[in-house]
């Protein structure tokens, strides 16, 4: 999907080049993507960019960004993003929105330093473990199982199942998977030390989840809201692990309304 108001460029953090999609104008939002990466300017970004300036970088090792060997784990990635924020954050800072491992990343960044962060929205976020409620084993699922677990709507599932990636897209899929494993294979999709430091996040926080999340069950939303001490916890019906794709307008509206409650 193309949007006349979005553009793709690269930006440097140290000597690491990141692929960056940008669109819209207004209060700046930094979107941190999940393990599947970002392949286009989606309806969710279009919706947000009607009122906000939206930045969507490919993380190092994902999409079209560089893959520096020194990033070995989620902690390294969080520190790297602090460098990114120091270099590129607008004067007024970012409202950070993270999805899945991007949510985990956002939480890791914010516990370290929120200087450039105005608020945090975590969508279907990895990063914590809810004892007794295991996440799905996304690394053992085949492509078909993954699609069925991660997407609620059977029609959309069917469309995805029949999609034929181009060789360039296939290359990025493999690349994303490798980096995903590097960051999240073990401990699987969480950091045992994160929970005890989340109280350091002082900015307003919001949690958004799909009711039928087949990877990280919706009960994790409550855990996050509890640990972050926030009342902003929204569970979307008829939605699995990708509210940004499955409920783009509703998710964007939740973010805008949340930001409205917390003027800069």
């Amino acid at each position: 999907m193309t949007d006349p108001n979005s553009s793709m460029s690269t930006c440097l953090v140290g000597n690491v080049s990141l692929n960056l999609r940008r669109g819209g104008s207004g209060r700046p939002i930094l979107f941190l993507h999940g393990a599947g990466g970002v392949s286009e300017w989606t309806p969710f970004f279009s919706e947000l960019s009607k009122t906000n300036e939206v930045w969507v970088p490919d993380h190092p090792g994902f999409g079209l960004s560089d893959n520096p060997a020194f990033i070995k784990n989620m902690s390294d990635l969080a520190m790297f993003y602090l460098d990114f924020l120091d270099t590129h954050a607008p004067q007024i800072g970012f409202d950070v929105v993270g999805h899945s491992i991007g949510g985990w990343l956002a939480a890791e960044i914010a516990t370290r330093n929120s200087t450039h962060i105005n608020s945090l929205t975590l969508i279907s976020s990895a990063g914590l473990r809810l004892e007794g409620t295991p996440m799905g084993d996304i690394f053992i699922w085949n492509a078909e199982e993954s699609i069925k677990k991660l997407i609620f709507d059977p029609i959309v599932q069917e469309k995805r199942l029949n999609a034929q990636p181009t060789p360039e897209e296939a290359e990025i899929i493999v690349r994303n998977k490798f980096t995903f494993a590097k960051l999240a294979w073990h401990p699987r999709l969480f950091n045992p030390d994160l929970k005890k430091w989340l109280h350091r996040v002082k900015v307003p926080t919001q949690v958004i989840w799909g009711e039928h999340d087949g990877l990280i069950p919706a009960s994790y939303a409550k855990l996050w809201a509890e640990v972050l001490n926030t009342n902003e916890c929204h569970i979307l019906g008829e939605c699995s692990h990708s509210p940004t794709n499955e409920k783009p307008v509703q998710t964007a509206e939740l973010i805008k309304s949340f930001l409205g409650k917390h003027p800069l």
Partner: protein, 388 residues
């Protein structure tokens, strides 16, 4: 040529029909499928069968490591090696191999090999492997770091075997203040290191390195791939400026021999087909987790959607028939003459120096295994051992 006898020690009483309700015979097959009484019988039989290798005239016996699977009951292959040391006097005992990246302190592996080497007075061959993809699911070790951990663990173990201790190890994955093996290894400078592999160019380059010259053992591969990989090893050695010796070149394959082709096929069919279709069921996600191979190889594999055994959980079930496996040369089934000529063909093309015969495989029972071992040992092995 040296001839070694190998079994995977499969759990032979696996309920195959019921196992198909599960993704794989690896990692997720509930261990309620395991009956300790039947399993204990298997262990006893396998140790007996391998111990017979010495009176039968084999040069060695082999065991290997696999985890959480009916495919092989040796999560601790050194325990079996230890038992075999007590049951034999002369032959080599090859552990093919220990999966180095799967442990958090490789010194454990160095120590255990050193113990076995002393206990056997130098009869140990130490195989080093990475473990198969499924084992990164069962152990939770990150496959992304599999190669790095393998190489660092290898360097650490060899140094621990050859350099006076204590010394410190300052590594990327392992950091130890005191490396100081008690016992030291018995063989000098250290037990032979073998590299069992299905063959990747990276492994061949590494194993053929003039400072290593590790014997390379091609396992579970079609004849063409065996030849291709052994030739690649030889070519690599030449590139390094030396000729690979035949003792550096090995091949491991299931073998079943009988007085007629028809009998050999009839007696081995169900066991061989069980091995390749029922025990070796590994969907791609389990066989090749991200990072276990290079991006390039994974891309190629995804493009051709190939995986060992079943195509994928719930996917189309293309059984590999005995005929097909024989045609490919992945298994050697026939009369002494036909099997001998097939091994000779590979020997002539590659200068093969180690042949590892898997004479028990899949569900093959004790009676047939005993007969297979005896006939292989009397009709085939002497000819192989005479080959220079």
């Amino acid at each position: 040529m040296k001839v070694l006898n190998f079994t995977l020690m499969p759990y032979r009483s696996m309920d195959v029909t019921a196992s198909k309700d599960h993704r794989s015979a690896w990692v997720v097959l509930p261990n309620s499928f395991y009956d300790p009484e039947k399993g204990a019988n298997d262990y006893e039989s396998y140790i007996d069968l391998l111990a017979q290798s010495e009176p039968l005239g084999f040069d060695g016996v082999c065991v290997n490591e696999h985890h959480q699977t009916a495919y092989g009951l040796m999560p601790g292959p050194n325990l079996i090696a230890s038992a075999l040391i007590q049951r034999t006097k002369r032959i080599k005992i090859a552990v093919l191999g220990r999966a180095l990246p799967l442990v958090n302190n490789p010194i454990n592996i160095a120590e255990e090999f050193a113990m076995l080497d002393n206990m056997s007075r130098g009869r140990i061959i130490a195989g080093f492997v990475r473990g198969i993809g499924a084992e990164y699911h069962s152990t939770t070790v990150n496959p992304f770091y599999s190669h790095e951990r393998f190489h660092e663990a290898h360097d650490l173990i060899v140094k621990a075997w050859t350099q006076p201790g204590p010394f410190a190890w300052e590594g990327e994955h392992y950091n130890l203040n005191y490396v100081n093996l008690w016992p030291r290894v018995y063989q000098q400078p250290h037990p032979p290191i073998w590299i069992p592999s299905q063959g990747s160019i990276e492994t061949i380059e590494w194993a053929a390195d003039p400072n290593k010259k590790y014997p390379f053992l091609v396992t579970f591969s079609a004849r063409e791939a065996v030849i291709k990989n052994l030739m690649a090893y030889k070519a690599q050695a030449q590139q390094y400026g030396y000729e690979a010796e035949s003792s550096q070149l090995g091949w491991a394959a299931p073998v079943y021999v009988a007085d007629t082709l028809e009998r050999a096929m009839n007696e081995s069919r169900s066991a061989i087909e069980a091995l390749f279709n029922d025990y070796l069921t590994l969907p791609m996600e389990m066989l090749l987790p991200p990072g276990y191979t290079s991006v390039e190889s994974l891309k190629k594999i995804i493009a051709t959607k190939k995986a060992i055994g079943r195509g994928g959980f719930g996917g189309p079930n293309q059984r590999q028939t005995l005929e097909r496996l024989m045609e490919l040369g992945t298994v050697l089934v026939g009369t002494p003459q036909t099997i001998l000529s097939q091994i000779k063909e590979v020997k002539e093309k590659t200068n093969l120096g180690n042949f590892v015969s898997m004479l028990q495989f899949g569900t093959l029972n004790n009676e047939l295994t005993t007969r297979n071992q005896a006939m292989f040992a009397s009709e085939i092995m002497p000819h192989l051992q005479k080959m220079q």
